[in-house]
């Protein structure tokens, strides 16, 4: 009995006297921010939710309305669009770099990358980096970078989207995602058809795309593929009288282009240890096409790319270093002859970020690169271009939400095959375009509120551009290096949730882009709008409904080729778009109306130097698209 008493006493003492209570605080979840690049430049993120709320039908229109990027589109279908950031005109697509999951999509010729290659449904987010970043990405990262990140989730899913609308638009998209043991995979089929706004303006695209990912204990291996067939008809440009008579007519019924595209990518991520990863990207892109532009032609390009890259930390410093190697083959066969080029590009880069303290971060980096070209056209010549870019920058956090940054960033751009093929007779190969940007800005992010302000100056030497001046030696104009050019500007961006249901967003971009010397000194660079404004309002109501309304103002601009600024300024114009969306469990219906007030404006305008009138590519009038989506799993 005594033993039992002692045992109970001991037990009570044990329970109450020496116990250590542990109280569990609710789990703190830290979400991974969308942006994860080492660039200190200002970034703007367009999330998948933004794209869906906006009812975006293609990437080009989303970049214009949510990213403040200026577009020039000659086909009206969104595939061959010049993306302009920081005041570039006809050479915009060679000074704005498109990345897909961080892989640069550059062409050996001046053709812009196909923005319709990635269906909106596959995009997780788009990261728009305003500013030069050749240290990290090399050639063409001059005015800005658009990085399209595709969806990386492998939750079991089967979804189907069907859409129909004006101009006989019919889009269908089906995607299946699943995991088999440790193997994650996704396959999608996408088909798109439109008769286009104008006559002889059909557009067809069919594509098969997918991903297979194998994660293992020390890394992951991923294979992405995309095979697409595309056919588009070119209605051509119209004169002012023709536009007045009927803006939907075509100036020809023969021009078209049809092509096969292949994109294959292997990504390997190897965890070397707790602080270092080795990432290797191996990519092949292939395009083979034929068509008619006044006369028939065939065109092909093959791009092979490999980039091993080390990312890690040394004493709290973030370090990345890598090299890239690319070979491009390009061939154009026309009735006037053959242009053939074999290009090789090499690059070596390194960048280090040093956190001085909790508030201040410094960054320094450099890249050297080289391009060799073996060009065969009416004559044969080999050229070597070299590029070097460095950047230095700092980031200071006043508070956890308010950031100030200041940076100098170098850039370069190599001449393209068809630019080198059309120069003045005494020029054998264009020089490398070199640039230096000075950028500074403030960024404030608090909960769902975002405010960004940036001011910049971009100085370029030997800017590569098309000179429309016609001479007996060059009856169609030539490509050349310009004397030094400068662009200055600023931008303001704001996202402001009024309450839980209503969110406002808006951007204003100003750029002063003028020729700095030569006969056109002081003139505005054609195709560049000094002012771009966009604003949107997103309203959620009645639990399942959502409305998005946007306004896009594009300031006036001189038409392409009007370097002398003697033609009429085109625009500016404001267009309004509207989208209403209904979501109920696994079903979504979306109705989008573009150009609500049926504004007449032009996608692209060209000035004819010796025939003093402009030709126009009219933009679609009011049009709509109804999309229905169902998730089966």
């Amino acid at each position: 009995m005594r033993k039992l008493f002692l045992f109970i006493l001991f037990f009570i003492l044990f329970k109450n006297g020496f116990a250590v209570a542990v109280t569990q605080i609710p789990t703190v979840i830290v979400k991974k921010p969308k942006s994860s690049t080492l660039s200190l430049a200002q970034k703007h993120i367009i999330s998948h939710d933004d794209l869906i709320a906006q009812g975006a039908t293609n990437l080009a229109s989303a970049l214009q309305s949510l990213g403040g990027v200026q577009l020039q589109d000659t086909t009206g279908n969104g595939s061959q669009v010049l993306l302009s950031m920081r005041g570039f005109g006809s050479n915009a697509s060679s000074n704005t770099l498109l990345l897909v999951n961080g892989i640069p999509i550059t062409n050996p010729d001046i053709a812009p990358p196909d923005l319709n290659a990635i269906p909106i449904e596959e995009i997780e987010y788009v990261e728009i980096t305003a500013g030069s970043e050749s240290v990290l990405y090399g050639d063409q990262a001059v005015g800005g970078i658009v990085n399209v990140v595709t969806r990386g989730e492998y939750k079991k899913d089967l979804s189907v989207l069907c859409a129909s609308g004006s101009y006989n638009q019919k889009n269908c998209y089906a995607s299946y995602t699943d995991t088999y043991r440790n193997l994650q995979y996704n396959v999608g089929i996408y088909s798109q058809h439109s008769n286009g706004y104008r006559e002889h303006n059909d557009y067809d695209q069919t594509q098969l795309a997918g991903t297979i990912k194998y994660p293992y204990s020390k890394g992951s291996l991923e294979f992405d593929y995309r095979i697409a067939k595309e056919t588009m008809q070119y209605p051509g440009a119209l004169t002012a009288e023709e536009v007045h008579d009927d803006p939907r007519q075509a100036n020809n019924h023969t021009d078209f282009f049809s092509d096969w595209n292949g994109f294959f990518l292997i990504k390997q991520k190897q965890i070397l240890n707790n602080s270092w990863n080795l990432e290797t990207d191996i990519m092949q892109r292939d395009m083979r096409g034929h068509g008619v532009l006044t006369s028939s032609f065939t065109q092909s390009r093959v791009i092979n790319y490999i980039q091993p890259k080390l990312i890690g930390t040394i004493n709290n410093n973030i370090v990345t270093s890598g090299l890239d190697f690319e070979t491009d083959g390009y061939r154009l066969d026309t009735d006037f002859g053959v242009t053939k080029d074999h290009l090789q590009k090499y690059g070596l880069f390194g960048l280090i970020q040093h956190p001085v303290n909790e508030r201040l971060k410094l960054s320094i980096g450099a890249r050297m690169a080289e391009q060799t070209s073996d060009l065969e056209t009416t004559s044969t010549f080999d050229t070597i271009n070299r590029g070097f870019a460095s950047n230095i920058g700092s980031e200071y956090w006043f508070t956890q939400d308010l950031k100030f940054y200041l940076r100098q960033a170098g850039s370069f751009r190599f001449p393209k095959a068809d630019e080198n093929a059309s120069t003045l007779p005494n020029v054998h190969g264009l020089k490398t375009q070199r640039g230096n940007a000075y950028e500074s800005g403030l960024e404030w992010n608090w909960r769902e509120f975002h405010t960004q302000f940036e001011i910049y100056q971009l100085n370029l030497k030997d800017e590569i551009t098309f000179d429309p001046t016609q001479t007996p030696e060059a009856p169609f104009g030539t490509n050349r290096n310009l004397p030094p050019t400068t662009r200055t500007g600023f931008s303001i961006s704001e996202k402001y949730p009024l309450n839980e249901s209503i969110t406002l967003n808006g951007q204003y971009h100003y750029v002063n882009a003028r020729f700095q010397s030569g006969v056109n000194e002081g003139n505005r660079i054609p195709l560049v709008s000094e002012n771009i404004v966009n604003a949107g309002i997103n309203i959620s109501f009645w639990a399942h409904w959502n409305i998005y309304h946007e306004m896009i103002f594009t300031g006036n601009q001189y038409p392409a080729n009007d370097d002398a600024n003697i033609g009429k300024k085109i625009g500016g114009y404001t267009i309004y778009n509207f989208n209403i969306r209904y979501v109920y469990e696994k079903f979504t219906a979306s109705f989008r109306m573009n150009n609500v007030f049926n504004k007449n404006y032009f996608l692209y305008t060209v000035f004819q130097p010796f025939e003093p009138f402009e030709t126009f590519y009219p933009a679609p009038g009011r049009n709509f698209l109804l999309s229905l989506t169902y998730q089966f799993l």
Binding site: A19, P26, V28, V30, L38, N273, S275, W276, I311
Partner: protein
């Protein structure tokens, strides 16, 4: 056609590129030890939460693996910057605690509303200080870190230690830094009459 300058630059840049690889190699052992450390901490937590059977099983399983590594490594982790806190937290828990501790789901004040308020306050304070480390983002690291700390009525915070590692030093250090940053917790006197032991999971979601 290439100049000597080009080849010289190529050589220099190649060397710079290879340098990090040479730096990386000696750290391989540290990785092994970090993994083991994570297991050891799991084991400690099992003991803390009176799961001796689990702890015993883990100890039995790990002992032959841990011993040679710890012996050979000569505590190389101590030499790595930013690891002093980690190593401090990786030290074995007080045997007294190990033997007698048990988990209590609520504060001893017994007032649920008050309990909820302080838990919410602590959660919000830590969440406010917690950032996803840039380096972890670039290295694509994610995971959950468990931190334990003793909070006194005067707001002092002691014994802030890692009780479960995410497996990544960068995330562990960031979570420890965030919890350290909320000290002193001045509102503690409103809710506590005596020192209390708290635990928080910080999940860095991918």
């Amino acid at each position: 056609m290439k100049s000597r300058y080009f080849y010289l630059s190529l050589l220099i840049h190649s060397s710079i590129f290879l340098l990090p690889i040479l730096i990386v190699m000696p750290n391989e052992q540290a990785l092994d030890q970090n993994v083991i450390q994570s297991f050891v901490l799991d084991m400690d937590e099992d003991l803390l939460f009176k799961r001796e059977d689990l702890a015993k099983r883990e100890r039995g399983f790990l002992q032959p693996l841990i011993s040679p590594i710890i012996k050979n490594s000569n505590l190389s982790l101590l030499k790595k910057p930013g690891h002093e806190k980690l190593n401090q937290s990786a030290q074995p828990l007080d045997p007294h605690v190990l033997q007698k501790a048990h988990a209590v789901p609520h504060l001893q004040s017994g007032n649920d509303k008050v309990n909820r308020e302080i838990l919410k306050l602590l959660h919000n304070q830590i969440a406010l200080k917690q950032k996803y480390p840039d380096s972890a983002l670039l290295l694509n690291q994610s995971g959950t870190v468990t931190i334990r700390f003793m909070l006194y009525p005067n707001g002092d915070m002691n014994d802030i230690r890692l009780s479960k590692s995410s497996g990544f030093d960068i995330l562990d250090t960031a979570a420890l830094a965030a919890v350290n940053a909320i000290a002193p917790f001045h509102d503690a006197h409103l809710y506590l009459q005596k020192a209390e032991l708290f635990s928080v999971n910080v999940t860095f979601a991918s």
